[in-house]
């Protein structure tokens, strides 16, 4: 009897153990249905709250070796003090943001707030709402928020951009409030070399060809133009095409399927063959092309006003060298043509949209914390820091103090800014142009903002959203098309593919069904216009 009982007990234990293992395993994929904290009314800052929110965003590169997480910055501490809301910042490994995000979504355990490019993710914002990843904000906006709704009321065009077709608000947007802030990337060229060969800043494609040839032949520069593969397409605009889908007279077109693109490729091939364009452009990374400019192997490139133009000029500042580099406008074909293509951000910078996830147990608190950025006080803090410490009001103009511009602890201006304000990085705030007017310390940088101006919004596709069905079709078609274009663009320029095969190339492109993609985009635009 006793023996039997023992056996039974053993069996029971075994069964329970197995059940426990299986249960713990299968529990992984499910979401906990946690109690959601209910809060009524609008916020009065500082809010009294026990909860610590978690906020997921990339760590600004300039802070990478200064702090472990954004919470250690003086800015974050000040924001916590003013709002009364505690926030823990979580950062993905640089370069693996979308993988990290997708793993969060698959596991179902997400941070309370996620800042990413929701518009650019496969499926778009609406699918994330439908899949219970993020919450729609309409209710909270109406009942609990003050500042963002007020801003949107004043800016109806922006209001349309940050909604889905079904009229759902999904994020707290990053807003670029001035034209001046929209184009911070462009071409730059060695000004001292231009003087040496007595030439002007190139305006047209032909000017560029002459200048680069002169650099090469008269000055013996090894590879006059250094660009990364992704930047070459900035020359395509001169031929009236972009390197992807774009708008033209109310119609959607695919640049690489147009004749202009062939002209552009032929020009680039010529430049490559004649050694004007760096031989390594196909594998060039940012490290190498910075090096090419600094080592005077190249005299022209495309880049950011801060990260490149300012960086180059500062590198030679005290060296006594004659190094001088200045901005060049986006090229056109004939002198006086309007500049209709160029790197320009839209008013809604979708790359830093903060959405509240379904894992958040206190969504209203999270919304209050995010909404503070759109208040006047929050706006000043985001852009200029703390009055008296980081900036002083001089004649009504918030002027940075030495703490930012000439940091006593030896921080560079970009590091000092990243520690004390948020305007110089991508965050869901309203960027103020008075920040960039001071961030760009050098006259060449300020001048660049004017020189790089362009009307590329004429050809920009609005921030449309797709339905779930459209989205998966769009994504799989577009991935193939993008890869095909990228490969063939390089192959034509490198001479691995002859222009005799252009018709065949177009046929192959048609086989990838780009016309269907155009259809999808056009339907989405129709819906967008009728929002």
């Amino acid at each position: 009897m006793n023996e039997r009982f023992k056996n039974l007990r053993k069996k029971c234990i075994a069964v329970i153990a197995i059940a426990a293992i299986i249960a713990s395993g299968s529990g992984c994929g499910k979401k906990e249905t946690a109690e959601i904290v209910k809060r009524e009314g609008k916020a009065t800052y500082p809010v009294e709250a026990e909860t610590t929110l978690t906020y997921w965003c990339p760590l600004p590169a300039s802070l990478a070796d200064k702090v472990k997480d954004f919470g250690e910055t003086e800015f974050a501490k000040e924001l916590e003090k003013r709002t009364g809301i505690k926030v823990k910042y979580i950062h993905p490994v640089a370069g693996q943001e979308s993988e990290a995000l997708n793993l969060f979504i698959a596991s179902g355990e997400m941070p309370d707030i996620i800042q990413t490019n929701w518009l650019g993710q496969t499926g778009g914002p609406q699918s994330f709402i439908d899949d219970d990843v993020i919450i729609e904000l309409n209710d909270i906006m109406e009942k609990n928020l003050t500042h963002l709704p007020a801003y949107l009321k004043e800016n109806p065009d922006l209001d349309r951009m940050i909604k889905t077709d079904e009229g759902k608000y999904y994020c707290f947007p990053a807003i670029v409030s001035d034209e001046l802030l929209m184009t911070t990337n462009g071409f730059m060229i060695r000004n001292d070399w231009l003087k040496k060969v007595s030439m002007d800043v190139p305006q047209t494609i032909d000017d560029w060809y002459e200048v680069l040839t002169a650099f090469k032949n008269k000055l013996g520069v090894e590879s006059p133009l250094s660009l990364m593969a992704s930047q070459i397409s900035n020359f395509a605009g001169a031929y009236g095409v972009s390197n992807t889908f774009y708008m033209d007279d109310g119609k959607v077109k695919l640049g690489p399927a147009e004749d202009g693109y062939k002209q552009y490729l032929m020009t680039m091939k010529k430049w490559y063959d004649e050694g004007l364009l760096d031989k390594d452009f196909a594998v060039m990374d940012i490290k190498q092309y910075n090096y090419n400019i600094l080592s005077e192997r190249s005299g022209a490139t495309h880049g950011a006003g801060g990260g490149q133009l300012g960086y180059f000029l500062n590198a030679f500042k005290d060296s006594g060298s004659s190094f001088d580099i200045k901005a060049a406008p986006y090229p056109v074909l004939k002198e006086g043509d309007p500049i209709e293509f160029g790197a320009k951000r839209s008013k809604y910078n979708s790359s830093a949209s903060a959405a509240i996830t379904t894992s958040c147990k206190d969504p209203v608190l999270a919304a209050w914390w995010l909404d503070y950025s759109y208040s006047l006080e929050g706006h000043m803090l985001n852009n200029f820091g703390v009055e008296g410490e980081d900036y002083e009001m001089i004649d009504g103009y918030p002027t940075y103090t030495e703490k930012i511009t000439n940091n006593p602890d030896g921080l560079s201006i970009i590091q000092a800014m990243s520690m004390n304000i948020r305007a110089n990085n991508s965050f869901p705030i309203i960027q103020d142009k008075r920040y960039i007017e001071q961030y760009y310390e050098l006259p060449q940088q300020l001048e660049a903002l004017e020189i790089w101006q362009n009307d590329s919004e004429l050809h920009a596709i609005p921030p449309v959203t797709y339905t779930s069905e459209e989205s998966s079709e769009y994504a799989s078609l577009k991935t193939e098309i993008d890869a095909f274009i990228e490969t063939n663009t390089l192959n034509f320029i490198l001479g691995k593919r002859s222009f005799k095969e252009w018709d065949k190339y177009i046929a192959e492109l048609e086989n990838l069904n780009y016309k269907r993609v155009i259809e999808i985009i056009e339907t989405a635009i129709d819906r967008y216009s009728s929002r």
């Binding site: 496969t122 593969a229 390594d280 196909a282 890869a483 691995k496």
Partner: protein
């Protein structure tokens, strides 16, 4: 000792009576096995239920139970898709090149190291050849890039002999060689360890006898050393063939660019892109499953062939 041999005996039957006896006899051994079994159960067998999403239109919100069942749709999509043949061709090419050129290297290196009599020199050689194994793949890819650009070391050498400078990573024809050679550089030394271990097990008396019979170094290597490590070689080769379709995606992603994607894109990079970057969970699981099925088939086949030819295999 005798007790343990019982389990190898041919007339041994899997009756519960026998198993019990065996457990009682070798308690300690079974105890040692428990963590290993738990490890495989938890990390290799439990997650297998996830394979189900290959046959569904899975979204995390609906979960395993709620997602719609679509049968073989994703498999058909993959196999009739534009990239299928290209991916398979690239995977097989890179993999075969890896086996043909990469597999014999550690064997040759191990034989050479084995012949070295000076202990100090031997130690230095071993350490030097192991070292690259510990360098992160990201760093290795960075080094490869710097060496192969048109102003890099390799091109300097080519130009010195009058050749023309080329950006090697932008040329499709160089991609596989760069991938395979850098792989040999990084892993050959490390992989000699297992062969060197096998070499130490060879009875010295055999060499002495051969020397007396008048055999030279080459003959001894051919007739004693190689046959002695042959089982090890065969087992490693079978395993290698069994994982033929698993080309590591990290290195490929770090090395490829738009101009070489046509020859560099392999199944694992495709799964990575579609699954982790584009959230096509079901589709990429289906592709991964396809990959595994082929791998298992190859493993079984190569094991059969090995058994037929030299009478020994993995199992």
């Amino acid at each position: 000792m005798k007790k343990q041999i019982v389990s190898k005996h041919k007339s041994y039957k899997f009756s519960s009576e026998n198993i019990k006896k065996d457990i009682m006899r070798n308690k300690e051994l079974y105890l040692i096995m428990i963590p290993v079994i738990i490890f495989y159960f938890v990390f290799s067998y439990l997650p297998m239920y996830g394979i189900i999403i290959a046959f569904q239109d899975y979204t995390p919100a609906k979960g395993f139970m709620g997602s719609e069942f679509v049968g073989l749709k994703h498999f058909i999509d993959f196999m009739t898709g534009n990239s299928f043949l290209k991916l398979l061709r690239n995977t097989l090419r890179i993999s075969c090149a890896n086996i043909i050129f990469g597999f014999p290297m550690p064997i040759i290196l191990a034989l050479l190291i084995n012949e070295v009599r000076n202990k100090r020199f031997k130690g230095i050689v071993q350490t030097c050849t192991y070292l690259p194994h510990f360098i992160s793949i990201v760093v290795v890819a960075g080094m490869i890039k710097d060496f192969t650009v048109s102003t890099g070391l390799i091109n300097d050498i080519i130009a010195f002999f009058g050749g023309e400078r080329v950006t090697m990573l932008a040329e499709t024809k160089y991609f596989t060689p760069i991938y395979v050679i850098s792989g040999i550089w990084q892993e050959a030394g490390w992989n000699t360890i297992i062969y060197l271990a096998a070499l130490t097990a060879i009875d010295k008396a055999l060499y002495e006898a051969a020397t007396i019979d008048g055999a030279g170094e080459m003959r001894k290597m051919w007739h004693i050393t190689l046959p002695a490590i042959l089982p090890t070689i065969v087992i490693l080769l079978i395993m290698k063939i069994g994982s033929m379709l698993n080309v590591g995606y990290e290195k490929i992603i770090l090395l490829y660019n738009a101009s070489t994607r046509d020859v560099a894109d392999v199944i694992s990079t495709y799964v990575y892109r579609r699954g982790l970057q584009e959230r096509s969970w079901s589709f990429s699981t289906a592709v991964g499953l396809f990959n595994s099925v082929i791998n298992v088939t190859l493993l079984i086949l190569s094991n059969k062939i090995s058994k037929m030819i030299n009478g020994s295999g993995l199992w």
